[in-house]
Symmetry: C2
């Protein structure tokens, strides 16, 4: 039996209540985004006969089809009344985009309470209010009120996003799009009046398109249900969770953001750990770890880490971070060092890190990795593209060596002007994520290790 | 009396030993970069009569001028012998670019020892070996063997860089260039055979072009001298220090990078704190804090922080980080909240963070900051450019409000596709640094606060 979210992600017919052509209104951006949906779209607004090439209906009652999903983008004060019309039409799945409910003070909380009553009475299921709703690369469904010119969408892929915050959802999506990481689905439930964190986890646990999940939460609806759902999904696929609202300052911010109580951080940390998920410590760490779990192919790692670099200082930074994360940096076996010593100039440093210096060439990365990587559990490869002797082809050689060794590897490629998107895609396609600083590469690899080690049956 | 580094940064005549036109050799990139120097350049290489439009000399003896500074870019094995020729010519300041000395094993260490003896005997001063040398925006002097096509140089400005690592030096410079932050001077001393960290600090303390210093170190030459020099400079200008090689893993990497011992991290931390410098915890933090000290105008802050956002989740992240850094987030006075309540729609959230939501417009940022900022010590302003209702002009309005309030402010602008370099420059020109995540903005502001509070006489 598919979860209740299936009808939100795979409707055949969608009505948009509050569709408009006004550029600054959510109803405009959503209508434009629905052009990508492989299903029927029915805009509703009494002021228009047509909208962006669609026939527009004066009310939901006039729509000449059964509606699987209604997206409500009306001012908050009009939503309550609209529910009656939606019920009369037989609509049972709703996304309420509108803000101005519990997050905005007493009057809004009153409205939210009345909506909660009606939803229950009418047997409806609801995502929102104060939410972006759903995004599905499988059928093009996109209820987000941000235009594609402003926020680019990632390509189709295996990562799914669950987020309490709309802002985090879109910024995470844009970060993935920028880095070429593929997305399966995303859901932002905002004030979480009905559909909640546990519902989303349960759905993605069984969704065949979802291979890994990145989650942003400020609170959970029900601690027990969350823990159960998180334990259930992490048996099947990796889950990365960023819990915000950790401290008093942040917890107060949560109360006025999604109108929930942030609760005690220590309890959340324990629950995340106990569930088998990995905790991300902030925005950058969530993005970095999500990238890793979305694309990396090789599971459980030991602690023996190899670092290869053409810039010593950056390798020291990586080595520091590796130490903090519990990696060890043993030297390569003597036989390997002898072999490399014959292949390389005397000024290359054949310890760990292996430093091929500012004079190191593309092939030297391949040689170092080919000989040494089989003796390690994982590697960090750092390339300063500013060095005169490396070219864009270095990514192909690194990818080849890592692929041959079948070991998990994260890259740090510095000085963005020197390499192109295609050069980076060579790495991504073979499951090698690329990061802008050595510390970030090590932290992502470390998160992967925690997940991978847990998922492998001993 | 100018410090000994003055003759390194302001020579009238420079000889480049090992000049070449071979694309992959350091001597080629340096010769190209010396084209920007406002002084006389004399390439030396017996194999060439001319090089890139310069007359080329067979040996230093043949150069028809007194040489203030010689840059030596020969293979390591040829350097020792060259010192005799340089002495005969009367050269007293040297930068040795060549690697392959102590950092590369026993044979290299032997050569480095012999060079040390000769330098002393001949009364020379040396930067290097295994170093990039010096970069000076004041006279265009640039001994770095990385081309400008590969590593862009920052505009002239007030930040100077001291670095034990060449890689960190150029990556930091490129990060500054990318963000439009101005540089005064940079020095990378590599194996630090002679000129050391304390010499550099002393020089920048008195350099009128240097307004702030960012420093990367793996070790210090002499603990007492370092502490004295750091204390001396921090009375005059802010100093940010990133100490790498913190842990066993990193310390081992240091030994094979710049051939020094990293020493105990706890002692370094204490020395940095005692000197009045601020510690950066890694590469990103060094870049972020350097940006802040390089451009921000307003000194000592209290702990009362205002957060203004159009995306609630990002404000929660900022609030969390603010709590960790010891900021408080009090609400604005009731009178301010009433005034904003009248100006804004009911669904804007008027706590702290002030959340103007995804519907907030450019002017709403101005209104919120104009009314609230005077009641705080500093602010973090977060803009999600993906929101339909904000435009590039938002940076002008934010800059104006912060300028009027004369309070230190850091911005986090997300979704890079939505804003241009010019829009960001409006902020930078008024001393408002811009960061790619809320946590990074808060951490940089916090570092500034530590520095600013210390420099103001109580």
């Amino acid at each position: 039996m598919p979860g209740i979210l299936d009808e939100f992600f795979y409707p055949s017919t969608v009505a948009l209540i509050g569709a408009t052509d006004k550029q600054t209104k959510p109803g405009r951006a959503i209508l434009e985004n629905l052009a990508h949906f492989n299903g029927a779209v029915y805009p509703v607004n009494p002021k228009h006969g047509t909208l962006l090439g669609h026939r527009c209906y004066a009310s939901i009652a006039e729509v000449p089809a059964e509606i699987d999903l209604a997206i409500v983008a009306l001012p908050a004060t009009l939503v309550e009344h609209e529910l009656d019309a939606l019920r009369a039409k037989g609509v049972r799945r709703l996304i309420i985009i509108s803000s101005g409910f519990s997050e905005a003070g007493v009057a809004g909380a009153g409205m939210q309470g009345r909506i909660a009553g009606k939803i229950k009475e009418y047997g409806m299921r609801l995502i929102g209010p104060n939410a972006l709703g759903v995004y599905n690369t499988d059928n093009g469904l996109d209820s987000f009120f941000v235009s594609r010119e402003r926020v680019s969408r990632p390509v189709a892929g295996r990562l799914s996003i669950i987020s309490q915050s709309g802002a985090i959802t879109v910024i995470l999506m844009e970060a993935l799009a920028r880095d070429g990481i593929g997305l399966a689905k995303a859901v932002n439930y905002g004030n979480r009046l009905d559909v909640d964190d546990a519902d989303c986890l349960d759905y993605f646990a069984d969704d065949p398109r979802t291979g890994a999940v990145a989650m942003y939460m400020e609170s959970v609806a029900d601690g027990k249900r969350f823990l159960h759902a998180a334990k259930n999904i992490t048996v099947k696929k990796p889950l990365v969770v960023w819990k915000a609202g950790k401290f008093e300052t942040g917890a107060a911010a949560v109360a006025s953001h999604t109108a929930t109580l942030a609760g005690r951080y220590g309890l959340y940390q324990a629950a995340i750990r106990q569930s088998g998920a990995v905790e991300a410590y902030g925005f950058d760490h969530l993005v970095d770890t999500a990238k890793a779990v979305a694309i990396m192919n090789y599971p459980c790692m030991g602690s023996r880490l190899l670092i290869v670099t053409n810039g010593g200082g950056m390798a020291v930074a990586a080595a520091d971070q590796a130490g903090m994360e519990g990696f060890t940096l043993p030297h390569a076996p003597e036989s390997v060092r002898e072999k490399l010593g014959q292949a390389f100039p005397t000024y290359f440093v054949l310890n760990n890190p292996i430093d091929i210096t500012g004079s190191g060439k593309d092939e030297d990365y391949y040689t170092a990795l080919k000989e040494a990587l089989p003796h390690y559990d994982a590697a960090i490869v750092i390339v300063l593209m500013g060095a005169t002797s490396v070219t864009e082809s270095v990514t192909e050689l690194i990818a080849r060596a890592c692929h041959e060794a079948k070991k998990p590897v994260a890259c740090c490629i510095l000085q963005g002007l020197g390499y192109t998107r295609e050069a980076m895609n060579v790495l991504l396609k073979l499951g090698i994520p690329v990061y802008p600083s050595p510390e970030r590469a090590v932290r992502a690899l470390s998160a992967l290790r925690k997940i991978a080690c847990r998922n492998v049956k001993k």
